[in-house]
């Protein structure tokens, strides 16, 4: 499965007024920078897919994430996330759907 990503054409076009608007917002608000592809699971938006890159460290949390299917190379899809801070999120992985808190989702690095 090929992951859909944030369109990267935006970051190339410096004159895009939309981009400036967004950039201005992200200066003042603690938002994920939309011009960069997300690096963790919690950066995905509803409907977006990606591939798991790795999970850092080896603690109980990391182990359980790994066991429920977030292993390097697994494809994941963000099903839904709650307002306002995308916390928690619902993620589809290995044929199952899991609800994860933002802190948990941030542990899963994606590519």
């Amino acid at each position: 499965m090929v992951g859909r990503r944030v369109p990267e054409t935006h970051s190339a076009n410096e004159n895009d007024p939309q981009l400036h608007k967004r950039g201005g917002l992200s200066d003042t608000l603690p938002m994920t920078d939309l011009t960069q592809p997300p690096t963790t699971l919690s950066g995905l938006r509803a409907g977006q897919s990606a591939v798991v890159d790795r999970i850092d460290a080896d603690d109980v949390l990391a182990r359980r994430l790994l066991e429920i299917g977030f292993f390097p190379g697994a494809s994941v899809e963000l099903v839904a996330s709650l307002w306002p801070a995308r916390d928690p999120v619902a993620v589809r992985v290995s044929g199952a759907t899991f609800a994860l808190r933002r802190k948990e989702a941030e542990r899963v690095k994606i590519r």
């Binding site: 359980r64 790994l66 839904a80 290995s94 609800a99």
Partner: protein, 622 residues
Amino acid sequence: MNAADFRIALVGLPNCGKTALFNRMTGSRQRVANYPGVTVERKEGYYESASWRRYRLLDLPGTYSLTPTTLDEAITRDVALGRLTSEPRPETIVLVADATHLPLSLRLALEVKRIGLPMIVVLNMTDLARKRGFTIDCGRLSKELGTPVIETVAVARGGADALITHLDSLPSDFLATPPTMEWREPSAEDVQQTHTEAARILAASGYREPARSEFITAADRVLLHPFFGLLVLGMLLFFVFQAVFTWAALPMDLIDAGIASIAEWVRGSMPDGPLRSLLADGIIAGVGNVIIFLPQIVILFAFILALEDSGYLPRAAYLLDRVMGSVGLSGRAFIPLLSSFACAIPGIMATRTIPSPRDRLTTIMVAPLMTCSARLPVYALLIAAFVPDRDIGGFNLQGVVLFALYFAGVAGALLVAWVLKKFRGGSDTHLLMLELPDYQWPRFGNLAFGLWERARLFLARAGGIILALMVVLWFISTYPAPPAGATGPAIEYSFAGRLGQTLAVVLAPIGFNWQISIALIPGLAAREVAVGALGTVYALSGDEDVVSTALSTVIASQWGLATGLALLAWYVFAPQCLATLAVVKRETNSWRYPLIITAYLFGLAYLAAFATYRIALWYSVG
């Protein structure tokens, strides 16, 4: 246990249909207890096959791996490894794999296989999976895994026959093979490796993943939506409370009429005397006033059981996780807390699935604040007496008040959890990591069985403990008899009357009269008893005229509105249930927490009732 029994342990992911398979195979030959020293439920069942072989099945708690994060999961690992001294090691493991959920199931199978016990992999829910285009070559899967693979449909009659036949066909010494015991906790690399291996086996066995149902995807788009999801959840809960009042009205009227005519008949056909008084005033007035709430309890449980079956509950936990997190509760606390709406006892026991001990304790502390079904009779009686039955904006006002009372309990719980968090500091790692299983239509048989169980329990309580308490209450409310020439009702001179009048000194500031004060005492054993007790107290203190009218009418005429509202507020918080406190003691293994809970709940109840009473008085005067 017979030494010749074959010991089989069922292992599988949560929601894999393991328990359905267990029920299918053992029927009613089950024994539910706890593992010694820990509070994990141990479910064991027996069956005897056509060849007279006896099997002993152990339903182990569902788990994703043998690296536990909860008490339940630790038990699964320890039993499988034979580490529990109380539990002989199973001779074979039946690994239940959900066909709609195969990659994770197979990974678990590979991990379990490494412990060296004989293992049989059971592919469950194949019917459902096939409908969605699932295919697999079972023979090939069996060869790749190196274990037998059997298909079952645990929810269908005869759905476990293939497994039973297979177990029977095994030579007697197969099950008795002494297992090799070399096991180490899997490392991160091991987990990764089992994932890779599971994927390879699936590919080699011609596995085609069942298509995700369009319905589930569409439903989740709405039900998990940040706005519409919460809206639906709120509407759903509101609807449930409306239904509890409006649907139950007719059957309750019928029961009420039935009880009234029985009481009439007893009065008419027996000579006046202590026995007639005991039957009519003690038993029929007391127990009858509790039984009348059966329809409401059945309706509430029907909703809870249907929601549980449908797979919606974890989604509600997901939607409410932020709210729970902000007061220091784990999102996982939602399901124990929701169970507490039925009864705090199963709710408190369900907290075992919360990984952090601190979160678990907070959940236990606030669980008694969830409005359990035993409070429903009290609320229903008082609402019927003091809240007019009319529509406001298309909603039944009584239903709205009931919803508000439930909401008050939840708000109280959030407040207490927040205070606990400030007081002790919350844990840093709240795990949510909750699986959102596929939706399923609730199965009618399941629902009917669950409802029957609840109704039976409720009636057994009404016939057992409540009946006994009513007889005792009748006795202390009748004796000693009033002295000659007494003017007031006889009950005022009895033990109960004097006790109530003493207590009323403390409870007068919150608007409770001595009749309420008496009713609160047997209500300590179980909340709904308070309603029966009020029935008995008023039956004994009134004249014939009062007795034949409904209890709600009596209290509406005898109490002020402020008193009625204060008693409602009292019951939102009051720790009127010894069984709950006993379970807290058992689950926390100390007296400390049940004592803290008792103290803080009484404090809150008194404050809430006081405030309600004073505000209501002030309003009605001003």
